[in-house]
């Protein structure tokens, strides 16, 4: 894997529900190297020269293109909104340590909000590798935050939804349907691995369900970044090895390595 900084043409960019957008970059040099869980670091064109890049997980990578699903939360993502098809954007990647490419037992993917992005890419790759049993658990405040549901269904992945307000799926936390599934698997002495990406409390809850068991948990951490390549030490997550950089030692960590504060 070679780190690259590519000037990418935007080939698609559209809204996909309230507050979320989908953007596709033409990045022939890096797209083929992408592993699920890795991310790209994007220079937002209309921000001033001193503005930092913004990191985004890879939602999909195929045919020389990198797909990103993003939520507009601040000035950077707001500025990204106004990028148009045909515009050039500087994209760095592949970055970070992704998910493993295989899975032992049922793959349980747990995501919240834009956290489904790397899980989508992961599900696709596991499917392509012939891995049969994949269940995805998607949570959100309301049904608008449940993303890519159709894409998962189209892949033939079992989809379980939960919303805080009950506007779709189970009313409650995404761990509710997850715990039901875990109970089922345990009852049948099945094997599983957990893959999670989303807000910290969700990640912690998922990690707790993996640590101390024989099953592995893979947790993708979202930490505020500067460089994205391991050079600045801004993006720290406490782990059993000390202060680890999410951008190179992560974003995907083994659940049992994480130290929660």
């Amino acid at each position: 894997m070679i780190l690259r900084c590519e000037t990418a043409k935007v080939v698609e960019h559209r809204e996909i529900g309230s507050g979320y957008r989908y953007i596709v970059f033409d990045t022939p040099k890096m797209a083929g190297d992408m592993i699920p869980g890795q991310f790209v670091h994007v220079k937002i064109p209309s921000l001033e020269a001193s503005a930092l890049r913004r990191p985004f997980s890879v939602f999909d990578a195929e045919e020389g293109r990198v797909h990103v699903l993003y939520k507009t939360v601040g000035r950077g993502t707001a500025a990204l909104n106004s990028v148009r098809t045909g515009d050039s954007v500087s994209v760095m990647g592949p970055l970070g340590h992704g998910f493993p490419s295989q899975c032992n037992g049922v793959a349980l993917l747990v995501g919240g909000g834009y956290g489904v992005a790397p899980l989508h890419f992961l599900a696709k790759r596991l499917k392509a590798a012939g891995h049969g049993s994949i269940e995805v658990f998607i949570g959100g405040r309301t049904k608008d935050d449940l993303l890519a549901v159709d894409r998962f269904r189209a892949m033939g992945v079992g989809v379980h939804l939960a919303t805080n307000d009950g506007s779709e799926g189970v009313k409650g936390l995404v761990t509710d349907p997850l715990d039901d599934e875990l109970a089922r698997i345990r009852a049948s002495d099945g094997k599983f691995e957990l893959f999670a990406c989303g807000p910290d409390p969700m990640l912690k809850a998922v990690a707790m369900r993996a640590t101390g068991t024989s099953s592995r948990g893979w947790i993708s951490m979202d930490r505020h970044m500067i460089c994205g390549v391991g050079a600045c030490y801004a993006c720290i997550q406490k782990t059993v090895r000390g202060n680890s950089r999410c951008c190179v030692e992560g974003p995907v960590f083994r659940a049992e390595d994480l130290v929660w504060e």
Binding site: I2, L3, R4, C5, E48, S50, H224, I226, C227, G242
Partner: protein
């Protein structure tokens, strides 16, 4: 052909462009995304005797014109640095640029000991990239070290003298911007036997989240760097150059060739790219190219002729 080599107090640099400490990791992290042949030196992240965890998160905040950071000098200590990091740098980067090692410590003895070990190691093949020491006496983000030694000219002089005794490597001292008169500190370094000076470190700064009514950074305060500090940095370099013959490695908000050339005209011998690399890893390359074409346009045969070449 423009001669781009410069002599930074005994450190031979093939180009006048270095990277600034803490903004370029240990030199190898950006490999693949840039052309190292245009770098006259890389400066490693601050290193001390033992490993150091750095500050709690969050460690940075974007602000208009730059960045406020309080990384807090996280690092693995000199042992790991010499055994693993430097050899890794040398193997990763084909014809690796000379490395300036930025050091800090909790006591003058610690600085000296780190300098001694670096000097020793620099004689070995595995660590031969180590070619200069930069004493960081100006990090605003760690109480126990850094700026406590740089604020008082007497203490600064003692520190420089002590480190000088332990090393024959080119010794650069990195100064803080928040002083009324840089000359006092320049003299303390000169008298202590420094070979060169570097400036500026970040400007002490703070960002408050008014909704949470808390500082944004876990460390409460941090250091400001980037585009916005450039005019302040140029002034300090200019002031320093007027009172010393020591070569200056200038940094602070270099984003394009113009910024670097301002530093050179103000009196710098070489220029380091810091925060800008985060946004554009090719900054150092672009700056180098721009300096060469400036030389051609203005009839300078060598970059070193630009140093201090303000017209009267």
């Amino acid at each position: 052909m423009v001669d781009t080599s410069v002599d930074l107090g005994g450190l031979d640099m093939a180009t006048p462009i270095a990277t600034a400490s803490g903004t370029f990791g240990y030199g190898f992290e950006y490999s693949g995304s840039m052309d190292y042949s245009k770098l006259g030196a890389v400066t490693a992240k601050g290193i001390r005797l033992d490993s150091w965890p750095g500050n709690a998160m969050p460690r940075h905040c974007e602000v208009p014109g730059g960045l406020v950071n309080a990384i807090g000098l996280q690092g693995t200590g000199i042992e790991h640095f010499l055994d693993i990091t430097v050899p890794h740098y040398m193997s990763q980067i084909g014809s690796a640029p000379p490395m300036i090692v930025n050091i800090w410590g909790g006591s003058i003895d610690e600085y000296s000991e780190v300098a001694r070990r670096l000097t020793e190691a620099s004689a070995t093949k595995e660590c031969s990239a180590i070619r200069a020491i930069e004493c960081n006496v100006s990090c605003p983000n760690v109480k126990e070290g850094g700026h406590t030694f740089g604020q008082d000219p007497k203490v600064l002089n003692e520190l420089v003298s002590a480190v000088r005794e332990k090393t024959n490597l080119p010794l650069i001292v990195k100064l803080a911007p928040n002083v009324p008169d840089i000359g006092v500190y320049v003299r303390a370094c000169e008298d202590g036997g420094a070979d060169a000076l570097s400036m500026i470190n970040t400007i002490p700064a703070m960002v408050i989240d008014i909704e949470k009514r808390r500082p944004v950074l876990a460390n409460r305060t941090g250091g400001l760097s980037g585009k916005g500090v450039h005019p302040a940095a140029v002034k300090i370099v200019y002031d320093a150059h007027r009172v010393t013959k020591l070569p200056i490695l200038a940094m602070g908000g270099v984003y394009e060739a113009k910024d670097a050339i301002e530093f050179l005209l103000a009196g710098a011998t070489a220029v380091a790219v810091g925060t800008a690399s985060f946004t554009e890893p090719a900054t150092a390359e672009n700056v180098f190219d721009g300096i060469v074409s400036y030389c051609e346009r203005h009839g300078f045969d060598s970059v070193s002729q630009i140093t201090g070449a303000l017209l009267a």
